[in-house]
Symmetry: C2
Subunit: 174 residues, 2 copies
Protein backbone atom coordinates (compact mmCIF):
# COMPACT_ATOMS: atom_id res chain seq x y z
CA UNK A 1 0.00 0.00 0.00
CA UNK A 2 2.96 2.33 0.51
CA UNK A 3 4.40 1.77 -2.96
CA UNK A 4 4.83 5.17 -4.59
CA UNK A 5 2.32 5.82 -7.33
CA UNK A 6 3.36 7.47 -10.59
CA UNK A 7 1.59 10.55 -11.94
CA UNK A 8 2.24 11.73 -15.52
CA UNK A 9 1.73 15.32 -16.66
CA UNK A 10 1.41 16.06 -20.38
CA UNK A 11 1.82 19.50 -21.97
CA UNK A 12 0.36 18.56 -25.35
CA UNK A 13 1.72 19.43 -28.77
CA UNK A 14 2.50 17.79 -32.09
CA UNK A 15 5.82 19.58 -32.53
CA UNK A 16 6.83 19.66 -28.86
CA UNK A 17 4.98 17.62 -26.24
CA UNK A 18 6.25 17.85 -22.65
CA UNK A 19 6.06 14.72 -20.48
CA UNK A 20 6.77 14.71 -16.76
CA UNK A 21 6.51 11.70 -14.45
CA UNK A 22 6.69 12.01 -10.67
CA UNK A 23 6.47 9.49 -7.84
CA UNK A 24 4.02 10.21 -5.05
CA UNK A 25 4.28 8.47 -1.68
CA UNK A 26 2.02 9.19 1.29
CA UNK A 27 3.72 11.61 3.67
CA UNK A 28 6.78 12.08 1.46
CA UNK A 29 7.92 14.72 -1.04
CA UNK A 30 6.99 14.17 -4.66
CA UNK A 31 10.00 12.89 -6.58
CA UNK A 32 11.15 13.31 -10.19
CA UNK A 33 11.05 10.04 -12.13
CA UNK A 34 11.29 11.10 -15.77
CA UNK A 35 11.04 14.20 -17.88
CA UNK A 36 11.14 14.45 -21.66
CA UNK A 37 10.02 16.48 -24.61
CA UNK A 38 8.84 14.35 -27.50
CA UNK A 39 7.73 15.55 -30.92
CA UNK A 40 6.92 14.70 -34.50
CA UNK A 41 8.30 16.14 -37.77
CA UNK A 42 6.54 19.36 -38.81
CA UNK A 43 6.82 18.35 -42.48
CA UNK A 44 5.10 14.95 -42.06
CA UNK A 45 1.42 14.43 -42.98
CA UNK A 46 -0.91 15.00 -40.02
CA UNK A 47 -1.96 11.32 -39.93
CA UNK A 48 1.65 10.16 -39.64
CA UNK A 49 2.29 12.73 -36.89
CA UNK A 50 -0.68 11.53 -34.83
CA UNK A 51 0.36 7.87 -35.24
CA UNK A 52 3.94 8.76 -34.27
CA UNK A 53 2.80 10.70 -31.18
CA UNK A 54 0.49 7.85 -30.14
CA UNK A 55 3.37 5.35 -30.41
CA UNK A 56 5.71 7.52 -28.31
CA UNK A 57 3.07 8.16 -25.66
CA UNK A 58 2.24 4.45 -25.42
CA UNK A 59 5.94 3.63 -25.00
CA UNK A 60 6.30 6.20 -22.19
CA UNK A 61 3.16 4.98 -20.40
CA UNK A 62 4.54 1.45 -20.63
CA UNK A 63 7.98 2.48 -19.31
CA UNK A 64 6.52 4.60 -16.47
CA UNK A 65 3.01 3.22 -15.87
CA UNK A 66 1.08 6.13 -14.39
CA UNK A 67 -1.86 5.68 -12.04
CA UNK A 68 -3.09 9.08 -13.08
CA UNK A 69 -2.50 11.34 -16.09
CA UNK A 70 -3.01 15.12 -16.13
CA UNK A 71 -3.29 16.75 -19.56
CA UNK A 72 -3.26 20.51 -20.04
CA UNK A 73 -6.70 21.68 -21.11
CA UNK A 74 -6.78 23.38 -24.52
CA UNK A 75 -9.04 26.40 -24.98
CA UNK A 76 -10.49 27.64 -28.26
CA UNK A 77 -9.78 31.21 -27.13
CA UNK A 78 -6.11 30.39 -27.72
CA UNK A 79 -6.82 31.51 -31.25
CA UNK A 80 -3.45 30.65 -32.70
CA UNK A 81 -2.68 28.73 -35.86
CA UNK A 82 -1.53 25.77 -33.76
CA UNK A 83 -4.60 25.39 -31.50
CA UNK A 84 -6.04 22.60 -33.68
CA UNK A 85 -2.73 20.69 -33.59
CA UNK A 86 -2.55 21.16 -29.82
CA UNK A 87 -6.14 19.99 -29.34
CA UNK A 88 -5.44 16.90 -31.44
CA UNK A 89 -2.26 16.10 -29.52
CA UNK A 90 -4.20 16.49 -26.23
CA UNK A 91 -6.89 14.20 -27.68
CA UNK A 92 -4.36 11.49 -28.54
CA UNK A 93 -2.80 11.72 -25.05
CA UNK A 94 -6.25 11.46 -23.43
CA UNK A 95 -7.22 8.57 -25.73
CA UNK A 96 -4.05 6.57 -25.09
CA UNK A 97 -4.45 6.89 -21.30
CA UNK A 98 -8.22 6.24 -21.24
CA UNK A 99 -7.83 3.18 -23.49
CA UNK A 100 -5.64 1.65 -20.76
CA UNK A 101 -8.14 2.55 -18.05
CA UNK A 102 -5.89 5.26 -16.61
CA UNK A 103 -7.91 8.19 -15.16
CA UNK A 104 -7.24 11.47 -16.98
CA UNK A 105 -7.73 14.96 -15.53
CA UNK A 106 -7.69 18.08 -17.66
CA UNK A 107 -6.02 20.94 -15.79
CA UNK A 108 -5.69 24.54 -16.88
CA UNK A 109 -2.32 26.33 -17.07
CA UNK A 110 -3.63 28.82 -14.46
CA UNK A 111 -4.44 25.98 -12.07
CA UNK A 112 -0.97 24.44 -12.50
CA UNK A 113 0.80 27.80 -12.02
CA UNK A 114 -1.27 28.52 -8.91
CA UNK A 115 -0.61 25.07 -7.45
CA UNK A 116 3.18 25.23 -7.78
CA UNK A 117 3.90 28.97 -7.33
CA UNK A 118 0.86 30.28 -5.46
CA UNK A 119 -0.02 32.59 -8.35
CA UNK A 120 -2.01 31.77 -11.46
CA UNK A 121 -0.12 34.52 -13.27
CA UNK A 122 3.43 33.28 -12.62
CA UNK A 123 5.80 33.46 -15.58
CA UNK A 124 7.68 30.51 -17.10
CA UNK A 125 10.89 31.15 -15.11
CA UNK A 126 8.95 31.22 -11.84
CA UNK A 127 7.15 27.96 -12.68
CA UNK A 128 10.45 26.27 -13.60
CA UNK A 129 12.15 27.49 -10.41
CA UNK A 130 9.32 26.25 -8.19
CA UNK A 131 9.10 22.89 -9.98
CA UNK A 132 12.85 22.43 -9.40
CA UNK A 133 12.52 23.37 -5.73
CA UNK A 134 9.51 21.09 -5.16
CA UNK A 135 11.28 18.14 -6.81
CA UNK A 136 14.63 19.07 -5.20
CA UNK A 137 16.49 19.01 -8.49
CA UNK A 138 19.42 21.33 -9.10
CA UNK A 139 19.88 20.97 -12.85
CA UNK A 140 17.71 23.45 -14.75
CA UNK A 141 14.69 21.82 -16.35
CA UNK A 142 14.45 22.85 -20.01
CA UNK A 143 12.54 23.63 -22.16
CA UNK A 144 9.43 25.24 -20.65
CA UNK A 145 7.25 22.39 -22.00
CA UNK A 146 9.14 19.96 -19.74
CA UNK A 147 8.68 22.14 -16.64
CA UNK A 148 5.00 22.69 -17.53
CA UNK A 149 4.43 18.94 -17.78
CA UNK A 150 5.98 18.43 -14.33
CA UNK A 151 3.88 21.29 -12.93
CA UNK A 152 0.76 19.52 -14.22
CA UNK A 153 1.84 16.24 -12.59
CA UNK A 154 2.55 18.01 -9.26
CA UNK A 155 -0.83 19.78 -9.44
CA UNK A 156 -2.55 16.47 -10.04
CA UNK A 157 -0.68 14.82 -7.15
CA UNK A 158 -1.60 17.61 -4.72
CA UNK A 159 -5.02 18.77 -5.86
CA UNK A 160 -6.23 15.38 -7.04
CA UNK A 161 -5.43 13.88 -3.64
CA UNK A 162 -7.09 16.75 -1.78
CA UNK A 163 -10.14 16.53 -4.03
CA UNK A 164 -10.38 12.77 -3.55
CA UNK A 165 -10.06 13.18 0.24
CA UNK A 166 -12.86 15.76 0.25
CA UNK A 167 -15.10 13.47 -1.80
CA UNK A 168 -14.25 10.59 0.49
CA UNK A 169 -14.93 12.65 3.65
CA UNK A 170 -18.24 13.96 2.35
CA UNK A 171 -19.29 10.37 1.68
CA UNK A 172 -18.36 9.40 5.24
CA UNK A 173 -15.30 7.45 4.12
CA UNK A 174 -11.80 8.04 5.49
Amino acid sequence: MNEPRLVMGIDPGLTRCGIGVIAVSPGARVRLVHVAVIGTPVSAPIGDRLVDLERQLMALMQAYPPQHVAVERVFSQHNTASVIDTAQAAGVATLVAARQGIPVSLRTPTEAKAAVTGSGRANKAQVTAMVMRILAVTETIRPADAADALALAITEAWRGDAQRRLVSASRGGR
Copy 2:
Protein backbone atom coordinates in the same frame (compact mmCIF):
# COMPACT_ATOMS: atom_id res chain seq x y z
CA MET B 1 -8.37 -3.53 -61.48
CA ASN B 2 -12.00 -2.56 -62.11
CA GLU B 3 -13.17 -3.45 -58.62
CA PRO B 4 -14.88 -0.37 -57.20
CA ARG B 5 -12.85 1.34 -54.52
CA LEU B 6 -14.47 2.67 -51.35
CA VAL B 7 -14.02 6.25 -50.20
CA MET B 8 -15.13 7.31 -46.70
CA GLY B 9 -16.04 10.89 -45.79
CA ILE B 10 -16.06 11.92 -42.12
CA ASP B 11 -17.77 15.03 -40.73
CA PRO B 12 -16.09 14.91 -37.33
CA GLY B 13 -17.74 15.41 -33.96
CA LEU B 14 -17.85 13.79 -30.53
CA THR B 15 -21.62 14.19 -30.16
CA ARG B 16 -22.53 13.66 -33.82
CA CYS B 17 -20.03 12.32 -36.33
CA GLY B 18 -21.24 11.84 -39.89
CA ILE B 19 -19.84 8.91 -41.88
CA GLY B 20 -20.46 8.39 -45.59
CA VAL B 21 -19.04 5.59 -47.72
CA ILE B 22 -19.29 5.58 -51.49
CA ALA B 23 -18.08 3.16 -54.18
CA VAL B 24 -16.07 4.61 -57.03
CA SER B 25 -15.61 2.70 -60.29
CA PRO B 26 -13.76 4.03 -63.33
CA GLY B 27 -16.20 5.45 -65.85
CA ALA B 28 -19.26 4.87 -63.62
CA ARG B 29 -21.34 7.02 -61.26
CA VAL B 30 -20.32 7.10 -57.63
CA ARG B 31 -22.64 4.87 -55.60
CA LEU B 32 -23.89 5.03 -52.00
CA VAL B 33 -22.57 2.17 -49.87
CA HIS B 34 -23.24 3.28 -46.29
CA VAL B 35 -24.22 6.37 -44.39
CA ALA B 36 -24.46 6.78 -40.62
CA VAL B 37 -24.22 9.26 -37.82
CA ILE B 38 -22.35 7.91 -34.82
CA GLY B 39 -21.84 9.66 -31.50
CA THR B 40 -20.79 9.40 -27.89
CA PRO B 41 -22.64 10.41 -24.68
CA VAL B 42 -22.25 14.12 -23.86
CA SER B 43 -22.17 13.29 -20.14
CA ALA B 44 -19.28 10.79 -20.39
CA PRO B 45 -15.70 11.77 -19.48
CA ILE B 46 -13.72 12.99 -22.50
CA GLY B 47 -11.36 10.00 -22.37
CA ASP B 48 -14.27 7.53 -22.55
CA ARG B 49 -15.81 9.49 -25.45
CA LEU B 50 -12.56 9.39 -27.46
CA VAL B 51 -12.13 5.65 -26.81
CA ASP B 52 -15.78 5.05 -27.80
CA LEU B 53 -15.42 7.08 -31.01
CA GLU B 54 -12.18 5.28 -31.89
CA ARG B 55 -13.89 1.89 -31.44
CA GLN B 56 -16.87 2.86 -33.63
CA LEU B 57 -14.64 4.31 -36.37
CA MET B 58 -12.46 1.20 -36.38
CA ALA B 59 -15.55 -1.01 -36.71
CA LEU B 60 -16.83 1.05 -39.66
CA MET B 61 -13.45 1.03 -41.41
CA GLN B 62 -13.37 -2.75 -40.96
CA ALA B 63 -16.93 -3.19 -42.29
CA TYR B 64 -16.36 -0.84 -45.27
CA PRO B 65 -12.58 -0.81 -45.83
CA PRO B 66 -11.90 2.53 -47.51
CA GLN B 67 -8.99 3.08 -49.85
CA HIS B 68 -9.14 6.76 -49.03
CA VAL B 69 -10.59 8.79 -46.15
CA ALA B 70 -11.57 12.48 -46.36
CA VAL B 71 -11.97 14.28 -43.03
CA GLU B 72 -13.44 17.78 -42.79
CA ARG B 73 -10.71 20.22 -41.84
CA VAL B 74 -11.31 22.03 -38.54
CA PHE B 75 -10.38 25.70 -38.29
CA SER B 76 -9.56 27.60 -35.13
CA GLN B 77 -11.54 30.56 -36.48
CA HIS B 78 -14.64 28.44 -35.78
CA ASN B 79 -14.45 29.94 -32.34
CA THR B 80 -17.26 27.96 -30.78
CA ALA B 81 -17.27 26.08 -27.51
CA SER B 82 -17.19 22.79 -29.40
CA VAL B 83 -14.19 23.48 -31.67
CA ILE B 84 -11.82 21.58 -29.36
CA ASP B 85 -14.16 18.55 -29.29
CA THR B 86 -14.47 18.69 -33.07
CA ALA B 87 -10.69 18.96 -33.51
CA GLN B 88 -10.17 15.97 -31.21
CA ALA B 89 -12.79 13.89 -33.06
CA ALA B 90 -11.11 14.80 -36.37
CA GLY B 91 -7.77 13.81 -34.83
CA VAL B 92 -9.08 10.39 -33.77
CA ALA B 93 -10.56 9.80 -37.26
CA THR B 94 -7.26 10.77 -38.90
CA LEU B 95 -5.28 8.62 -36.43
CA VAL B 96 -7.44 5.52 -36.92
CA ALA B 97 -7.15 5.75 -40.73
CA ALA B 98 -3.43 6.58 -40.79
CA ARG B 99 -2.65 3.75 -38.37
CA GLN B 100 -4.05 1.34 -40.98
CA GLY B 101 -2.04 2.95 -43.76
CA ILE B 102 -5.14 4.51 -45.35
CA PRO B 103 -4.37 7.88 -46.98
CA VAL B 104 -6.27 10.77 -45.35
CA SER B 105 -7.14 14.09 -47.01
CA LEU B 106 -8.39 17.08 -45.07
CA ARG B 107 -11.00 18.95 -47.09
CA THR B 108 -12.68 22.23 -46.21
CA PRO B 109 -16.49 22.60 -46.10
CA THR B 110 -16.19 25.22 -48.87
CA GLU B 111 -14.33 22.78 -51.09
CA ALA B 112 -16.96 20.06 -50.53
CA LYS B 113 -19.87 22.45 -51.18
CA ALA B 114 -18.21 23.72 -54.35
CA ALA B 115 -17.49 20.20 -55.59
CA VAL B 116 -21.06 18.92 -55.22
CA THR B 117 -23.14 22.08 -55.89
CA GLY B 118 -20.78 24.32 -57.88
CA SER B 119 -20.90 26.97 -55.16
CA GLY B 120 -18.77 27.16 -52.02
CA ARG B 121 -21.60 29.07 -50.37
CA ALA B 122 -24.40 26.53 -50.89
CA ASN B 123 -26.70 25.97 -47.91
CA LYS B 124 -27.34 22.64 -46.20
CA ALA B 125 -30.52 21.90 -48.17
CA GLN B 126 -28.71 22.49 -51.47
CA VAL B 127 -25.82 20.23 -50.44
CA THR B 128 -28.23 17.46 -49.39
CA ALA B 129 -30.23 17.76 -52.63
CA MET B 130 -27.12 17.55 -54.80
CA VAL B 131 -25.65 14.64 -52.81
CA MET B 132 -28.93 12.73 -53.32
CA ARG B 133 -28.96 13.52 -57.03
CA ILE B 134 -25.28 12.53 -57.50
CA LEU B 135 -25.83 9.24 -55.65
CA ALA B 136 -29.26 8.71 -57.28
CA VAL B 137 -30.99 8.13 -53.96
CA THR B 138 -34.60 9.20 -53.48
CA GLU B 139 -34.93 8.94 -49.70
CA THR B 140 -33.88 12.16 -47.99
CA ILE B 141 -30.48 11.90 -46.33
CA ARG B 142 -30.69 13.18 -42.75
CA PRO B 143 -29.25 14.75 -40.65
CA ALA B 144 -26.97 17.32 -42.30
CA ASP B 145 -23.88 15.60 -40.82
CA ALA B 146 -24.68 12.51 -42.91
CA ALA B 147 -25.06 14.51 -46.14
CA ASP B 148 -21.88 16.47 -45.32
CA ALA B 149 -19.92 13.25 -44.85
CA LEU B 150 -21.12 11.98 -48.24
CA ALA B 151 -20.26 15.34 -49.84
CA LEU B 152 -16.70 14.97 -48.47
CA ALA B 153 -16.44 11.44 -49.89
CA ILE B 154 -17.73 12.60 -53.31
CA THR B 155 -15.29 15.52 -53.28
CA GLU B 156 -12.45 13.17 -52.52
CA ALA B 157 -13.51 10.76 -55.27
CA TRP B 158 -13.68 13.53 -57.88
CA ARG B 159 -10.98 15.97 -56.84
CA GLY B 160 -8.59 13.38 -55.47
CA ASP B 161 -8.69 11.49 -58.76
CA ALA B 162 -8.25 14.65 -60.82
CA GLN B 163 -5.36 15.77 -58.59
CA ARG B 164 -3.69 12.37 -58.85
CA ARG B 165 -4.09 12.40 -62.65
CA LEU B 166 -2.48 15.83 -62.83
CA VAL B 167 0.45 14.73 -60.69
CA SER B 168 0.81 11.61 -62.80
CA ALA B 169 0.67 13.59 -66.09
CA SER B 170 3.22 16.14 -64.89
CA ARG B 171 5.53 13.27 -64.04
CA GLY B 172 5.16 11.84 -67.54
CA GLY B 173 3.02 8.93 -66.30
CA ARG B 174 -0.46 8.18 -67.63
